[in-house]
């Protein structure tokens, strides 16, 4: 299953929290990532996230969305549930993976 951020959510990702502005990482996690993650837990089908088509990803948006999900559930489960594609910004995939791995790091 492929999920496109630009098509399904927005092409202008916003800040970390809802209170800081529109299209936040918190909003993205709650509205889309959590249901997708639940879907993965039920069916076991890996979800591919297409990151292309946006103007850019603020660091705090990515951290709150993916790191936040890993903090709530488990790093391993989140890593297993999602894979990422980006032709426009290949480096962003490593960045998200680092956010997931370091989600609980002090």
């Amino acid at each position: 299953m492929i999920f496109s951020v630009a098509r399904e959510f927005t092409d202008t990702p916003g800040p970390r929290y809802r209170k800081q502005g529109k299209f936040s990482g918190e909003e993205f996690r709650e509205l889309f990532l959590e249901p997708l993650f639940k879907q993965y837990m039920l069916s076991g089908t890996k979800i591919e996230i297409d990151l292309d088509g946006v103007y850019g990803y603020p660091t705090s948006f990515l951290e709150e969305a993916f790191g936040g999900l890993a903090r709530k559930h488990s790093v391993q489960d989140v890593q297993d549930a999602f894979s990422f594609i980006s032709q426009e910004q290949p480096g962003i995939v490593d960045e998200i993976m680092a956010d997931i791995i370091n989600a609980n790091a002090q």
């Binding site: 916003g14 800040p15 209170k19 800081q20 946006v54 660091t59 705090s60 910004q89 989600a103 790091a105």
Partner: protein
């Protein structure tokens, strides 16, 4: 008889006093509790004072920080301490050198200072270059409702807000596409940077105990300079150094200067965010990364009593400034060649 009634005498006395008060009011003379008189119609002592503000010859926070910040602090103090000042006259005449950052800060004082200045006027610089900047930057358009007879040259893009606004940042990117061969794929990092800086403003905007002089807002000006774009971002909060979480012994101010804290915020090695959450405070290290990768050049950050700029070797170096600047100014450049979009040969 009624006239002999003491109640009637009291009534007459009160009535007379009431009529006298009404008469005084009509004539514009009113007595107050302290017994002194205030002239109601026109009081020359209470007439709005005009404060003539002499702008420094080199009006630039980036190139002349000490003098320009001193000027701003003087202006802010004057406005805050003398409430009778309702009109300010800005003398730009003698200005020989001017940069956007100083104009933005002046705009922030006029628009977002907690104490409002109602009227302002001024002249324009005699020298052509600063005059052109003053007229073209969009500064006048933001502070006056009067029509300005200046044909915009389209070299400047000005934006402001108080939250992290992706739609507004998208418009900035579109300005870059109009003025260069850049495309969405090549300006991702600019969008990321701008959003992170906007988030910082939004972060302190919702704090109720903020002791900022200003209503929290951000201002951005992008200037098209032939082969490059110059970005100036102003965050009118309390400033980076004042929001960095300090441990108890650091609060004693032993040895460490404000630029040490600023550099540590850019390094992101320590838990420096005011929020004390380890996963936060990654915006500034990312900006430093872009500077070391040469994606942005000539990065300069000025906040509180610290100035930090990237050298030729892309290393951030700190410096102390004499007076504290409320808020933070970020200046950087991006060359048009570095964001040119080249289609892959199929």
């Amino acid at each position: 008889m009624r006239r002999k009634d003491p109640k009637y005498a009291l009534y007459c006395k009160r009535r007379l006093r009431k009529l006298e008060r009404a008469k005084k009011r009509k004539n514009g003379v009113r007595s107050n509790h302290s017994g002194s008189l205030n002239v109601n119609r026109f009081n020359y002592d209470m007439a709005p004072k005009v404060y003539i503000s002499n702008i420094p010859e080199c009006f630039s926070i980036v190139t002349n920080p000490n003098e320009t910040i001193h000027y701003f602090n003087l202006l802010i103090n004057r406005i805050l301490r003398d409430p009778s000042i309702k009109r300010i006259y800005f003398e730009f005449r003698k200005v020989k050198e001017m940069t956007v950052d100083a104009l933005m800060y002046l705009l922030a004082i006029l628009k977002f200072l907690q104490c409002k200045v109602w009227e302002f006027s001024g002249d324009v610089p005699i020298q052509n270059e600063p005059k052109e900047l003053l007229l073209q930057s969009g500064f006048l358009k933001r502070i006056t409702r009067h029509r300005i007879s200046v044909q915009p040259n389209g070299k400047f893009y000005m934006s402001m807000g108080n939250s992290a606004d992706g739609i507004e940042t998208k418009k900035v990117c579109e300005f870059l596409y109009e003025h260069s061969d850049a495309q969405r794929q090549t300006t991702n990092f600019i969008y990321d940077m701008l959003m992170e800086l906007e988030v910082n403003t939004a972060d302190h905007a919702y704090k109720t105990n903020s002791n900022s002089l200003f209503h929290d807002n951000w201002l951005l000006v992008v200037e098209d300079n032939v082969d490059r774009f110059s970005f100036t971002f102003l965050d009118v909060g309390v400033g980076i150094c004042k929001t960095i979480y300090k441990r108890w012994h650091e609060r004693l101010n032993l040895g460490k200067t404000q630029y040490d804290y600023l550099l540590s915020a850019f390094d992101g090695k320590l838990l420096r965010s005011e929020t004390k959450e380890s996963h936060r405070g990654r915006g500034l290290p990312k900006i430093k990364k872009y500077a070391t990768e040469n994606r942005i050049i000539n990065l300069t950050v000025i906040t509180n009593k610290a100035i930090c700029s990237s050298s030729d070797k892309c290393i951030l170096e700190g410096q102390r400034i004499d007076e504290s600047l409320a808020g933070a100014i970020y200046y950087w450049e991006v060359t048009k060649s570095s964001i040119r979009y080249e289609k892959e040969a199929s």
